[in-house]
């Protein structure tokens, strides 16, 4: 299998059987993709008569806009053409076609066509859809980053969900306390900094607890994650019902306003999508870039990856694996806790019970989907965020599609990826294994 994947043209007698198998599965794949293309053309003939209008704000919400009137049929034709080309390419090139890369070409058209068909006869503001995608993707991507750091260092982290919840709760309380203690004016300036900071600290505390249990007492890391998820749910619900519900002053944090980036926010069409967002979204971009650099280009990153892949070897050359794992858990906790504060602090929020609603687990899904690579995981988070934003769009436009279908997308996709149905991804080899310092 692997031989065929890496050097398909190499004439190695031992691998010929694998070659034949790869060639056959490539043929089947090509035919399937071509059939998909025909299906798309079939949809096109049925939906050609429908109208759908896409609307973009030029530079500011509610001001000038451009409208693109089109038909779902056109979108289906585009989907059919790109899919058909991919299928023919696959048939022509056989096993050597890098078909996964082509997914990026035709999948967006399928999504656009399906959404367009559902929106038939309506006007959809795509600026909000795309800007919403980035917002919804933020907690997911940060959860994925936290999990990536942990797993790269060799620690399982299924506790992202719990850290998000605690971050949301602590962030809201800390922000509200600022308002209470410093008064509405100073508090509104200091609160948006103190709230997320305390949320990050709370996340670090959880990370420390998990690392301590897993490293010092060798508790199974799935168990520590379960303890944190379950305990965070109980504790935050308890605090909400016992304290925050009655004493609402402790749960009225200052709002974190959107920031318009000068110059860039005035770019037509793109500005309102990318550069008029809540500050959290910008932090997400920055964390992604920094993390990628640090994991793959620095000594710290090399050691981090070494202690996740082969801790014994890392320990032999004098790397302090235990310290690396503790630090990774602290950093991951800070990231996840900070992301949690987004839930309760952005746009006139407050803490509500179980407000993370599975976003942490979707973050883990994004990590797997992105093959433990921050940039790819960010892309996966965008896909999941897009599903959320689409759901939002469809419900505001009154399209009667059960929201459960779109809500299941991340979970189904994750199972498909973990099961290796669309190419196999591999995590750090020694994630979840306790390490004995010799």
């Amino acid at each position: 299998m692997t031989a065929a994947a890496t050097s398909p043209r190499a004439i190695v007698p031992a691998a010929s059987e694998a070659h034949r198998r790869a060639a056959r599965s490539a043929r089947i794949r090509g035919v399937v993709i071509c059939v998909l293309a025909l299906i798309a053309f079939g949809f096109a003939t049925n939906t050609m008569g429908d109208k759908v209008t896409f609307k973009f704000w030029l530079t500011e919400q509610g001001k000038a806009f451009i409208e693109i009137p089109t038909s779902p049929g056109v979108l289906w034709i585009l989907a059919g053409l790109t899919t058909g080309l991919t299928g023919l390419w696959q048939l022509w090139k056989g096993a050597s076609a890098a078909w996964r890369r082509w997914l990026i070409l035709w999948l967006p058209f399928w999504v656009a066509a399906i959404v367009g068909t559902m929106l038939a006869g309506k006007t959809a503001t795509l600026t909000n859809l795309f800007a919403g995608t980035f917002e919804y993707a933020f907690p997911i991507s940060m959860g994925a980053f936290a999990a990536i750091i942990c797993e790269r260092s060799g620690m399982f982290d299924i506790a992202v969900e719990g850290k998000l919840l605690v971050g949301a709760c602590v962030g809201s309380i800390a922000g509200s306390m600022c308002l209470q203690v410093l008064g509405p004016e100073t508090g509104a300036v200091v609160g948006p900094i103190v709230g997320p900071a305390f949320a990050a600290l709370a996340g670090m505390g959880i990370g420390l607890l998990m690392a301590w249990l897993a490293i010092r007492y060798k508790v199974d890391q799935i168990i520590t994650g379960t303890v944190v998820n379950f305990g965070a749910l109980g504790l935050t619900n308890f605090v909400y019902l016992r304290v925050l519900q009655t004493y609402t002053d402790y749960n009225t944090p200052p709002t974190i306003e959107r920031i318009q980036i000068p110059v860039l926010s005035q770019i037509p069409v793109l500005g309102p999508i990318l550069f008029q967002a809540t500050p959290y979204v910008y932090v997400g971009w920055v964390v992604m870039l920094i993390l990628t650099y640090f994991i793959f280009k620095t000594r710290w990153g090399l050691r981090l990856r070494a202690s996740g892949e082969y801790p014994q070897a890392a320990g032999t050359v004098g790397i302090n694996v235990i310290a690396i794992r503790y630090r990774a858990m602290l950093l991951a906790g800070a990231i996840a806790g900070f992301a949690g504060s987004y839930l309760s602090l952005h746009s006139a929020g407050s803490f509500q019970m179980n407000m993370s609603a599975g976003k942490g687990f979707i973050g883990i899904a994004a990590m797997i989907f992105g093959a433990w690579n921050p940039i790819a995981a960010f892309g996966a988070a965008l896909v999941f965020g897009f599903a959320d934003a689409t759901q939002q769009l469809l419900s505001t436009l009154g399209v009667d599609i059960p929201p459960q279908f779109l809500a299941s997308v991340p979970y189904v996709l994750t199972i498909v990826v973990v099961a290796g149905l669309v190419g196999r991804v591999r995590g750090p080899a020694m994630a979840g294994q306790p390490y004995e310092q010799g």
Binding site: V219, V227, V418
Partner: protein
């Protein structure tokens, strides 16, 4: 004397774990007691301590009477001798057993999977789908005689649970997909399926828009004690029988031996000629079937109506139960009875002292933590670092 001591030895860690969890819980109770904290800020530390600790004692007392009944009520019942008085006296215990029933099923489910070396985090999904399957089957068969409907519904619950356990088992055996990830995802998919099903006219009652199903009172699991107001049903007895069967299966049959071998050392089991994939799938299917049956009994015996919140984290509590009970069916039943008592008593605590029931979720999480880190407990209570019955060897870390 020493024989008794050896028997009690495995109980020491779980007992201390529960005590410690409640102590930590009481610390959180004290520091979220805002009226008492205001006394502290006013410069009355002694007053604060008395009030706050008093509230904790009041809360835990309400918890105990809610779980096991008020002795005064028993005295009344003895004097009056009427069935109503007896029913009042026994209601807390009956409710405790009612609360323990789904926990026994899910706890057994997780214990079987842990014994087999598979981490089934999907008890939640298997439980709700079992409940959904039972509801759907009961509605389909509603015109048949009640016993047939009931048996059909319970079987449907088992089949749905099995199916939801089979998927991660099959994926793990065939492709190596990590069962923790797949079961977590399947939990969420199960919730979406339930929500989708509860939108259909087949499930929904004729009036009302809440996501609940029609009431299934036409094929209810019969009551165990025919006194008014005692909800305890035969599901509890079935749970005990199933626990005995699981124990027999795990420790007395060849398949059970294969499962336990796979759990202890998959490679060794494979070299001994056992099918590793087969035992993973079998473990997940049995596990899913148990959780599904629990869901079926919950809907057919206790709540008689399918809804989104039929499951209050049973799948997660089950992990605590499996660990607390040392993954032995008998231990799981004991742990489930304890947690059933806590959950039921928590309701009484919530009513009497308005302390939210969610405190118990937190306490359960702490119980998992302490049970999973026996060396931590030994350190706290200055016990000798010795291997306990579950076979965990003494860690060097504890001695150092």
């Amino acid at each position: 004397m020493s024989g008794l001591r050896r028997r009690l030895r495995p109980l020491v860690i779980p007992f201390l774990a529960v005590i410690s969890a409640f102590l930590v819980g009481s610390i959180f109770l004290i520091f979220t007691d805002i009226p008492a904290l205001q006394k502290l800020l006013a410069g009355n530390p002694l007053d604060f301590l008395v009030t706050a600790v008093g509230n904790v004692v009041k809360a835990y007392t309400a918890l105990l009477t809610g779980a096991f009944g008020d002795p005064g009520k028993f005295v009344d019942a003895f004097r009056q001798g009427t069935p109503e008085a007896w029913a009042t006296a026994f209601r807390p215990i009956s409710e405790t057993l009612v609360a323990a029933t789904p926990l026994i099923f899910t706890g057994l489910a997780i214990a079987v999977s842990f014994r087999s070396g598979v981490f089934n985090i999907g008890g939640d999904g298997q439980f709700v789908l079992g409940a959904l399957g039972a509801t759907a089957m009961a509605l389909l068969l509603r015109d048949l005689p009640a016993p047939i409907t009931l048996v059909g519904a319970l079987l449907a619950g088992v089949v749905f649970g099995m199916a939801w356990g089979f998927i991660p088992g099959f994926l793990k055996a065939r492709t190596g997909a990590h069962e923790v990830i797949t079961t977590i995802m399947l939990n969420y998919i199960a919730l979406q399926i339930v929500q989708l099903a509860l939108r259909t006219p087949f499930m929904r009652p004729a009036t009302g828009s809440e996501p609940i199903s029609k009431v299934i009172d036409f094929a209810r699991v019969p009551q165990l004690i025919p006194l008014p107001g005692l909800r305890l049903h035969w599901g509890f007895i079935v749970a005990l029988i199933v626990a005995a069967l699981v124990s027999y299966f795990l420790f007395r049959t060849t398949k059970g031996f294969e499962l336990r071998s796979a759990g202890l050392n998959l490679t060794a089991a494979r070299y001994a000629g056992m099918s590793a994939g087969g035992s993973i799938i079998l473990a997940m299917v049995v596990s899913g079937a148990l959780a599904g049956l629990g869901g079926a009994f919950q809907v057919m015996g206790t709540v008689t109506q399918m809804s989104n919140d039929i499951n209050s984290g049973y799948g997660w509590t089950a992990i605590a139960l499996a660990l607390l009970g040392g993954t032995r069916p008998g231990g799981v039943v004991a742990a489930a009875l304890l947690f059933g008592a806590l959950n039921n008593g928590g309701h009484e605590m919530q009513i009497e002292t308005s302390i939210p029931l969610d405190l118990l979720i937190f306490i359960q999480a702490l119980v998992i933590m302490f049970v999973a880190a026996p060396d931590l407990v030994r350190q706290i209570y200055r016990l000798k670092p010795k291997g306990d019955e579950t076979g965990a060897p003494a860690e060097e870390g504890a001695a150092a």
